[in-house]
Symmetry: C2
Subunit: 262 residues, 2 copies
Amino acid sequence: MNSPSPLEHIRIVLSRTSHPGNIGAAARAMKTMGLTKLTLVDPKLFPHPEAEARASGAADVLAKAFVCATLQEALRGTVLVAGLSARRRDLAAPFRWAHDGAAELLAEVRQGAHAAAEVALVFGNETSGLSNEELALCHFPIMIPANPEYSSLNLGAAVQLMCYELRLAAGSQGTAPSGAAVLATADEVEGFHAHLERVAISSGFLDPSQPKRLLPRLRRLFGRARLEHEEVSILRGLLTTLEKPKLRRSATLAPNPRKVDP
Amino acid sequence: MNSPSPLEHIRIVLSRTSHPGNIGAAARAMKTMGLTKLTLVDPKLFPHPEAEARASGAADVLAKAFVCATLQEALRGTVLVAGLSARRRDLAAPFRWAHDGAAELLAEVRQGAHAAAEVALVFGNETSGLSNEELALCHFPIMIPANPEYSSLNLGAAVQLMCYELRLAAGSQGTAPSGAAVLATADEVEGFHAHLERVAISSGFLDPSQPKRLLPRLRRLFGRARLEHEEVSILRGLLTTLEKPKLRRSATLAPNPRKVDP
């Protein structure tokens, strides 16, 4: 593949959509996940101001949407077609769950013999879904795991969810996000614990002849939090400050260790 | 846990939502994935006819939504809180991707010491997202993988996607869907291939002294399709029918094998 992203080889096809707002929502959902190719089969109302309003920042996806009269026309040139279905059907190919179906479409794009090969994902009408005739044009149906008592996803929401799975399947999640925090090293953490113990004893909070479980408990707490480098600096700065006027502090502020240490 | 579903221990909290339609869409998204606990912090317009219209069949979720004035109030009683964020922030805890964050919330529900423990997932205002003050009340931020050039998911779509990940994390995907097809057994498939070979030869389509690669190719084709029991019956019925008037058919219909067999 010479293409910068396999997601550009995926057509999202909306068949016989009733509400223009859903077309706009689908365009927005596609763009947030990096998809751009929208095909509309016989939409009831398009173009329409409500589609533009709901598309928000994805007006470009709407503007270059391909509109055609039949699903056959929409699928021309595609090598693999999946169709969304909310219910099982007797004569269809075995269902794929959303996650697996997305992976299968992406695998086809990646391994396809033709560099220009495109795959399609078809969504039916809001009320009736894909007809059996439409589903027969698909290689397999995809089902979104849902509450069996109420499985009626909004069309835009279903497009959002499938495009999300396609993005994940394309490996476009990106690098693991992080708060850019630098974790403290083991020796920094030990230095902090030694400092804490010193302050606990010098303040009179901890009786070194009867330490009980105070220090292990504090160690457990800070271990769980996985201290960052900067947090160790802050805590040690605090301890240093507390150490200085220790005679006055130990008299007025130190709590009774027996009330804290179980 | 005595609860029938861990999903009932998850609060979806929408903070300072501007558009009532999005509240309705969120309720619908929740119900399709089996979540029911909606909390609204200081919504601009609620209740509102547009919320009800977009909720569609999830009017019950809207009706029992808890409305309160502050996020603190919304989070009362929860033991773990995650907040959606579209951007990285310096002072926040490390981000989790949607999938991992959902798994972490579910793990807390499952392993929580208190049977009544609840966790919360917080979504900010449509335009500005969660404020830094709101995010500070969360244990960690969750980020939905998105197109870095346009990452603005609709609020309802974001709720749909997170509830989907929560449902998957809860293991509520259900049993693998299937078209209820019964696959053919190996002997049934072999019986079909033998029949096909017999017809290919008797029709004159295949010259048994020069078989070339015709039969292996047909075997490859049907192997890929993974024949079903009923399909073998249909194909063998067809072959049986074709065998009967073989003298006339072989003269008029059999194509030249050299054109087909490479």
